[in-house]
């Protein structure tokens, strides 16, 4: 839902950046796939592994897609540059927070499993 709403705003800019649409679609597809696979493995420790993988994917995707965190494009002889460093830092912190949450969930799951296992 968020993707479709945001795409309404980004559509005019996508015409200036040819790779933007494909890049965002790739991210959405992989992200949703990891969520679906995680839900399919619900009740197992693999659910949390996929959660960790999801968070790592978000962080890695941001780093590789934004390169030096400055996006440059040329339009009709004018060079437009957007500095997304602060955005990248905040997004990475949120990604790491998600990673920490997934690891806590995995630890919580493992500890509950250990409590249930009769000695």
């Amino acid at each position: 839902m968020v993707y479709y709403v945001c795409w309404l705003f980004l559509a005019p800019i996508a015409s200036m950046i040819p790779a933007l649409q494909q890049s965002i679609q790739t991210f959405v597809v992989v992200y949703i796939t990891l969520i679906i696979v995680g839900e399919l493995s619900a009740g197992t420790v693999y659910q949390h592994f996929f959660g960790v993988a999801n968070s790592l994917f978000v962080v890695a995707y941001l780093i590789f897609s934004l390169n030096s965190a400055t996006v440059s494009m040329t339009y009709q002889g004018v060079v437009l540059m957007v500095d997304l460093r602060l955005f990248l830092v905040i997004a990475m912190l949120l990604g790491l927070l998600g990673l920490g949450k997934s690891m806590l969930q995995a630890i919580n799951f493992a500890s509950k499993k250990a409590e249930q296992t009769p000695i």
Binding site: C6, F9, G77, V78, M81, V82, L84, L86, L104
Partner: protein
């Protein structure tokens, strides 16, 4: 541990939604930032420089304030040296506000002539780098820049000194007339004076004259420099020394041999 995990989950999701919506809407706001350029004005400063003023109207119809709005113009000579530079800064343009500023740039013709005196006599194009930078929502720095050319009109285009005309006034003195003409292709009026000195073959100063020059922008100037010399001092060969002292620049001395 379930409750803290849930809390972290909720905070993360809400933060992501806010971050994405803010970033997308901030970048989208760029298209609601409009610029209108007024008619540029040219004048001269008290220290003899050309002042270029361009009124710019900026309308912020986006969702957020625009911070640190800066317009910078850099004019470059042929060898990429900086001839002139001007910068205008607006600390904040509020949401829904329209701001009009004067973008000023001073242009030192004397400094330009240090790079190449042909700028006095030849029309050309000057390379200009224009850049606009701002912070969307005080958070996302954005910069747009482009290279342009602006025409340079030579103030002394087609500068000519005609052949000296000698007229005997009486038994002792003669009049030497040197016609001078040029086309002022510059966008400013030229006012100043021309001085001419006549020397004979023994380096003796035999005559001197000065005339006021007034040439409107994009107009032709024609005038005569008249020296009164003692006939006995004038030799078959010698030279004229011409100097131009215009408010914006000085030119010369130019040595023109005769004979």
């Amino acid at each position: 541990m379930d409750i803290p995990i849930k809390m972290i989950d909720i905070v993360t999701i809400i933060s992501w939604i806010f971050l994405i919506i803010f970033s997308v809407s901030a970048v989208y706001s760029i298209k609601d930032l409009t610029f209108n350029f007024g008619v540029s004005q040219l004048g001269t400063t008290s220290d003899g420089k050309i002042l270029f003023s361009l009124p710019i109207e900026i309308a912020n119809k986006g969702y957020y304030n625009v911070g640190l709005f800066n317009v910078t113009t850099i004019v470059l000579a042929e060898n990429s040296s900086v001839i002139a530079e001007g910068s205008t800064l607006i600390p904040t343009i509020g949401k829904g506000e329209t701001v009009t500023v004067l973008h000023n740039m001073t242009f030192d013709v004397a400094h330009l002539l240090q790079f190449n005196q042909s700028y006095l006599f030849n029309d050309t194009q000057l390379n200009t780098v224009e850049s606009v930078s701002m912070r969307l929502g005080g958070f996302i720095p954005v910069q747009a820049s482009g290279n342009f050319s602006i025409p340079w009109g030579a103030p002394l285009y087609n500068f000519k000194l005609g052949e000296p005309q000698y007229t005997v006034l009486n038994f002792t003195h003669m009049q030497v007339t040197v016609p001078m003409s040029f086309d002022n292709h510059a966008t400013v009026d030229i006012t100043g004076e021309a001085q001419i000195r006549m020397y004979n073959s023994t380096n003796e100063l035999v005559g001197f004259d000065r005339i006021d020059i007034e040439a409107l922008q994009h107009s032709h100037y024609g005038g005569n420099l008249r020296l009164y010399a003692v006939t006995s001092s004038v030799t078959q060969t010698g030279w004229f020394e011409l100097r131009l002292q215009i408010g914006l620049f000085n030119y010369g001395p130019v040595v023109i041999p005769y004979g």
